[in-house]
Structures are given as C-alpha cells and as structure tokens.
Symmetry: C2
Subunit: 122 residues, 2 copies
C-alpha cells in the first residue's frame, strides 16, 4: 500500500517561516523512507491541501494522513479542515484519508515543549 503524510500548516509571507516544516518533513522521511511526505498550506503558500492531495492521488497513494501542524487549533483547523477532508474523501474514493488531531493536542509534544521552555534556566 502506497502511503503518504501531508504536514498541513498555516503559511506565511516570511521566507524562513517554512524551515521547521521542511526540517520536520526531512525527519519523517528519515524515519520512514518508503513514505511520501508533503507540505500543504492554509494560505499564502502553495500547494494548498486539495492540490497536494491531487498530486499524491495521481501518484497512486492509497492511504493518506493529514497532520495539522498547529499548536493552537483555530476555526480553520477545527471547522474548516474537517469539511475540506470530507470533500476530498468524496473526490478521491480510492484514497483512505485520515486526519489526526493538531500536534498541540498531543501529550508528548506538549512535554517536549515544556522541556524546551525550561531548558537552561539560570
């Protein structure tokens, strides 16, 4: 089964904004060399989620996970994203499309954030 992960982020006009997303994609590729990893954005950057999904579906991906790479999940993620995913499921019935909770919901991610926040305090 051909699998893929889309890291779904907000997007920004600032050129260096994307760097952590690219570093995250590289880490995932290193862990799972067989999986396709793509970035997609809510606004200001390309591709958007439908375009990234279309590319992966055309490449024969059968199982796709969308990870909302947001710490706080605003209306775009809580309301807009499920509706978008539902539309993509209808559009690509051959692709099993899973959307997980935003990264900021995860206990282990929060723990890593907490460790970072207190690191090297005087």
């Amino acid at each position: 089964m051909k699998q893929a992960i889309i890291l779904f982020g907000h997007g920004s006009r600032e050129a260096r904004w994307i760097e952590p997303f690219e570093r995250l994609a590289a880490r995932i590729r290193k862990r799972l060399p067989g999986i396709a990893v793509r970035l997609a954005f809510l606004e200001l950057l390309s591709p958007d989620l439908p375009a990234a999904t279309a590319e992966l579906a055309a490449a024969g991906v059968q199982w796709l996970r969308v990870v909302p790479v947001f710490i706080g999940a605003g209306g775009h993620v809580r309301t807009g994203l499920p509706a978008l995913i539902e539309g993509l499921r209808r559009q690509y019935p051959a692709v099993t499309l899973e959307c997980v909770a935003a990264v900021g919901e995860d206990d282990e991610v929060l723990e890593a954030l907490a460790v970072y926040c207190v690191r090297d305090l005087p």
Copy 2:
C-alpha cells in the same frame, strides 16, 4: 531571584485555541512550582506581551524568559518580537529579559513532532 516565563502565542477567535497553551503552562508549573508562568498574545486575546511583562515586573519578577510558542516564525516573531523585547528592556531595566528561539526551531521539539506524525501508521 524571582523568575517568570511568558508563553507568547498568536491568539485566536476560537475559544478552544488556547487549550494547548494552558496545558503547556500547567506542565511547566508542575516542573518548576517556584516560577510564575503566564500566557501573552500577539493579537485577538489578552494580555499582550507588554501587559504581561508589566504585571510580572510589578510583582517583583527580576528574570523573565519569553518563549515564542510558534512552529513557523513569521514576521511578527522574527522582526516584531525582538523590537518589542528591546522596548520592554528599556522600560523595565530592573528585569533581565531573555527571549529564546521559537519552539519550532528546537531539534527535540521537532523530534517529538516527527514521532507524533508517524504514530500508529497502518
């Protein structure tokens, strides 16, 4: 020395957006019960960074770390925040004010994000 940490986030109109920030603050308080932990926001929520800093300075905090809780750091964080911090340092000369890199710059945070992204793949 009275220390504090400000978790600086974007802000949102969505009520539940703030939850991961509150959970993160609670984790830090549990790790370091002696430290004051506050949230502050760029927009849409209160307090902003100057108001949070004023409250902590008035409470006698002498050492303050600001953590930009952003995965991608846009113009607000890369350009606006250093200028804001510089102004606060002038305004509160008795407070040592440290601003660390955005959480998304940290290798261990990225590793936790990567682990989350690939967890329980079929």
